[in-house]
Symmetry: none
Subunit: 193 residues, 4 copies
Amino acid sequence: MSSRGPGRPRSEPARQSVLAAVTHLIGREGYGRVTMEAIAREAGVSKQTVYRWWPTKAAIVLEALNEGAAEIAPATDTGSLSADLRRFLRRTVAGADGRNARLLAALMAAAQLDDAFAESFRTGFLARRRLALRELLQRGRDRGEMASSADLDFLVELAFAALWYRILVRHQPLGRHFADQLADTVLTLALTP
Amino acid sequence: MSSRGPGRPRSEPARQSVLAAVTHLIGREGYGRVTMEAIAREAGVSKQTVYRWWPTKAAIVLEALNEGAAEIAPATDTGSLSADLRRFLRRTVAGADGRNARLLAALMAAAQLDDAFAESFRTGFLARRRLALRELLQRGRDRGEMASSADLDFLVELAFAALWYRILVRHQPLGRHFADQLADTVLTLALTP
Amino acid sequence: MSSRGPGRPRSEPARQSVLAAVTHLIGREGYGRVTMEAIAREAGVSKQTVYRWWPTKAAIVLEALNEGAAEIAPATDTGSLSADLRRFLRRTVAGADGRNARLLAALMAAAQLDDAFAESFRTGFLARRRLALRELLQRGRDRGEMASSADLDFLVELAFAALWYRILVRHQPLGRHFADQLADTVLTLALTP
Amino acid sequence: MSSRGPGRPRSEPARQSVLAAVTHLIGREGYGRVTMEAIAREAGVSKQTVYRWWPTKAAIVLEALNEGAAEIAPATDTGSLSADLRRFLRRTVAGADGRNARLLAALMAAAQLDDAFAESFRTGFLARRRLALRELLQRGRDRGEMASSADLDFLVELAFAALWYRILVRHQPLGRHFADQLADTVLTLALTP
DNA sequence: GCGTAAACGAGACGGTACGTCGGGTCTTTAA
DNA sequence: TTAAAGACCCGACGTACCGTCTCGTTTACGC
């Protein structure tokens, strides 16, 4: 059933130690100073094995981020827009803190340097996260908790923009207070005609 | 007064052709694919001359951006918060469009890769622009055009966050409509207690 | 009798297609540009199968050479030193021409690069061929067709040296004329006290 | 006069330490086990510098050989064919002994693996050495010390063939005795009609 | 004017990392 | 047990840029 044809199967330990290595190295050196060579060395894996499975450094980081769970905060439906929003943003902000902040910043930087990666990052990562929040807001609008004239896409963009600005500029902390402030802001705008 | 001691003076043509080269190359290849080597070649200048005057690629881009004018939009005082805000954001958004968008995105990416540059970018570029907008809002508050409880720093952050998100993600255009939408948003939040 | 124990028997077609592949590839690319990888690919055989039966590229070439017949020219005894010599050298020169020249040159090159192979090549290939000619000369001496002071080993060495020089340097053709010229030379020296 | 234009001049120490490194490494490891990487490392020179000046390993060896003096034995004219021949072959054999034997064998091997190098080796190294001996023999013939029917090219080929065979096969030593034996042989053949 | 001195172009230098290739080995499924 | 397939670790390949270092040359200034 799980037969995968002939040939030596891919080494799962190798895969995981590469992901661990990239996370560790970026935390220690910063994305820009991490090389494919160093990743392979740190992971105890040959360069060839790295290149066999990932085309670029950014692709490894992306997989490491997805692996570390922190999947998109599931928009559990509490029945209240306000509560849903608070919960979603708290989870999202928490997931972008600490070690992950470095990885996320690195990905956004990589997207500016590599057009091919930018495309996959935009549609495969950013857009999916925007969509999750948009559906949350849509539910609120369907329940009549929002001015019908509200521009949902703009509100979603505003929330993620604020989050990314703190990730990239790092002049203010990411925390519960920030998440709640953001939720209040979105709610205020949603209710204003 | 203009005495600069003995020795051959710095070549202004060389300086300008480096700035032109970096702008041209980033537009054509993208920041990540541009090398110091290529900049010198394209500018018809020796590598040494480049390194004599700029420590990093990012420093050249920063100077090219300042050179191309587009200084911080001067917050001319019209007497009305609404009008000031509209004017400021329209100018700022316009200055971040087109060719400059690539340069700005490159700078933000460089800041993620190089901690030393990040510091100077944060305090010398981003903070100064935030300050300009903050003073504009402060004037409005002093004139009583705003709820006294409004969090000015947060509003400023929100405006620039939205701008940077579009610069970096490029999923929606930067334009007059976006600037006005942003101005309206800030104003709404400023008036809501 | 032909029982070779349990298990799948060695594939004769695989063996032959490896030998054919190595001959074909060396003719097309030259020994140095042929890789084990390419041999396996060209032969339609897995790399493991190649390594299971031959330790090195040179070993394959050596087997290919022996396979292609051209065993040591048998020193048929005509009763005359002159005729024996002529016949032996004509056959030997002919066997070193054309496609085999490339293979022989490759073997001599491999012997310079790999000491282990050099040893087996020296004693298992070169020495056996020298011995064949030496015995031919010895028969002539026993029959009194040669000055008793003649240094047989030196004459043998001279003949093969001339042959190998043409194989390796390729500035003059290998042919019947060359073989006869060589035979005359050896005979002249054998007769001169 | 010796002006070499602008730019940093080539480093003579670097050049010489590369030549020394290649000689040392080949003596220690054998030509086949020496890599460009190891040459650069041993010479304390960057790989780029090696590749800037020599296209292949063989080219370095060739230059090292010419550098180590041992230029073609100058065919000083003693007035006697026999004496000239003896002197020439003694010098030539001596120059092919010891450390140089490894280098020469390596060059001949490289010529079998790389067609481009083969060409330059054949015409730039081997042919020039054959020519020197040919001129020596020609002088002898002009003085009437040789049968007029003698095939000079064949005699030259025979002498160098014998030398190369010992270099490559290494079954007998290169020494004064061998050189004299060779001289006697050539002389005998030159005198026999 | 004439020397001093800095900036300039050219380009070689020691390095580091790139992305690829091939070497041998190992691990799977199929015959 | 052998075979095909193909992943594995390893190390070298030849190239691209890095930032630095000589060179010879040019262009100001101050004596």
